[in-house]
């Protein structure tokens, strides 16, 4: 085990969720590496402190029972209010107060709404099919990254491969190459990282570039609209071009 791997799985080791062989490897590495041994001791102290932090319900002002009862009293009040009769009945009562006591009328209107709703949803589904393919591909690439199928180390490499795959797909389909908007992609990644509270170094250090793949605003890309077969074929081509073994 090397120092990088040691630090990555250190907390899982302290939580007791590593396999026996990995735990033995951790302990062996700690014996042979002074820096990592110190890291382990510091992490162990942190876990002990975290374990001693009391549960909030036992430290809130007033005892928990009083708080539990107070919340329930408010909930009960809400549940017993007319607002709990259901949104459809409330809307119908407001729109057609004279028909409120007639359930058959309410049922007819409900069925009408269901039919209209189904049509609207169907049209929405058709109009967003491109985004759905894009979403599937994003998840697929994330899955390959997680499984180590791509054998990549960090976000920059993934970005580079994605750009290569994009170019191959564009060529195969007769589109303009490089239709990825790199500036938009970088801005999107920066925004996503900011949202996650990550710093630039985090992306480089991360073997799981979820921020990169979550930054889906550069969806103009052919890459995200390709079928799985096209995607796999394009990735193979990039690997054969770059010599990056999958």
């Amino acid at each position: 085990m090397n120092c990088r791997r040691f630090r990555k799985v250190l907390d899982d080791y302290l939580l007791g969720s590593l396999s026996e062989s990995e735990s033995i490897a951790i302990e062996a590495h700690a014996k042979s590496c002074e820096d990592c041994r110190e890291e382990l001791e510091a992490a162990s102290r942190l876990h002990k402190v975290l374990a001693t932090v009391d549960e909030p319900a036992s430290t809130v002002a007033g005892d928990w029972q009083a708080i539990e009862n107070r919340i329930w009293a408010r909930l009960k009040n809400e549940l017993e209010s007319p607002a709990n009769e259901g949104w459809l009945k409330r809307i119908l009562d407001v729109l057609f107060p004279q028909f409120a006591p007639r359930p058959a009328f309410a049922f007819g209107v409900s069925m009408g709404l269901v039919v209209v709703g189904t049509l609207v949803l169907g049209l929405f589904w058709l109009s967003t099919s491109q985004e759905r393919i894009a979403w599937d591909n994003t998840n697929l690439i994330q899955f390959w990254c997680d499984e180590g199928t791509l054998g990549l180390e960090n976000g920059t490499q993934i970005a580079s491969i994605m750009t290569g795959v994009e170019r191959i797909l564009a060529e195969d389909n007769g589109y303009d190459a490089y239709s990825i908007d790199t500036d938009a992609m970088l801005k999107s990644i920066a925004s996503e990282m900011n949202e996650e509270g990550l710093e630039p170094g985090d992306l480089e250090a991360s073997p799981m570039p979820s921020v990169l793949l979550d930054a889906g605003d550069f969806i103009e890309s052919d890459l995200l609209n390709a079928s799985r077969k096209e995607l796999e074929s394009a990735i193979e081509s990039v690997f054969s071009e770059t010599g990056n073994g999958a």
Binding site: L50, I71, K76
Partner: protein
């Protein structure tokens, strides 16, 4: 309240779906405390946690007919609780409005080594947790305090297992960094 089995809970949920308020109360009494703890740890404020627990159960009871028994009832409510906490933090930017004691904030990053084993260190740790970005903090709470594995965390957040691992790794790195003066 005594522990109920999964089948017993499902029976109670069925009654609640039929509009039985006693069944609602049983579900509330059974699950409010652990959910309060999780929410409070994520939002870092008792008062907000109380409001969110009320909103959570109100939403749950209003939507209970859409619960389809594909997961446990608790898993279903827990997922709503996590999303609600994260949405709250996103909308209110309450990372900057935490109501933890000022002295706890002062402890970071210049911790006092002679305070290692006392209450002050606990407060500093709580404050440090609140400095971790919301999503990473939620993963930390799920992993450390709710004892969840990465697959369950990923399922709750709708993310990949890799993203859950990365979020936990970064959260712990940040905590260690914030509390480095206590080493």
């Amino acid at each position: 309240m005594s522990e109920l089995s999964g089948d017993e809970i499902n029976q109670i949920v069925k009654k609640a779906q039929g509009g039985d308020n006693d069944a609602f109360e049983t579900l509330y009494r059974q699950f409010s405390r652990p959910l309060y703890n999780t929410i409070a740890r994520i939002v870092g404020d008792a008062e907000t946690a109380e409001e969110l627990v009320q909103e959570l159960f109100l939403k749950t009871f209003r939507k209970i007919c859409s619960f389809n028994y594909r997961s446990s009832f608790y898993t279903w409510v827990y997922r709503i609780a996590i999303n609600m906490s994260l949405n709250h933090l996103k909308s209110s930017k309450s990372r900057r409005e935490t109501k933890l004691p000022p002295e706890a904030w002062d402890a970071i990053p210049s911790g006092r080594k002679d305070d290692k084993d006392n209450v002050f260190l606990k407060e500093a740790t709580l404050a440090a947790i609140q400095k971790v970005p919301p999503r990473q903090r939620a993963v930390l709470v799920m992993r450390i305090y709710d004892d969840m594995d990465y697959a369950s965390i990923a399922g709750t957040l709708g993310s990949s297992v890799g993203a859950a691992k990365a979020n936990f790794h970064f959260a712990m790195q940040k905590l260690r960094n914030y509390l480095k003066d206590y080493r």
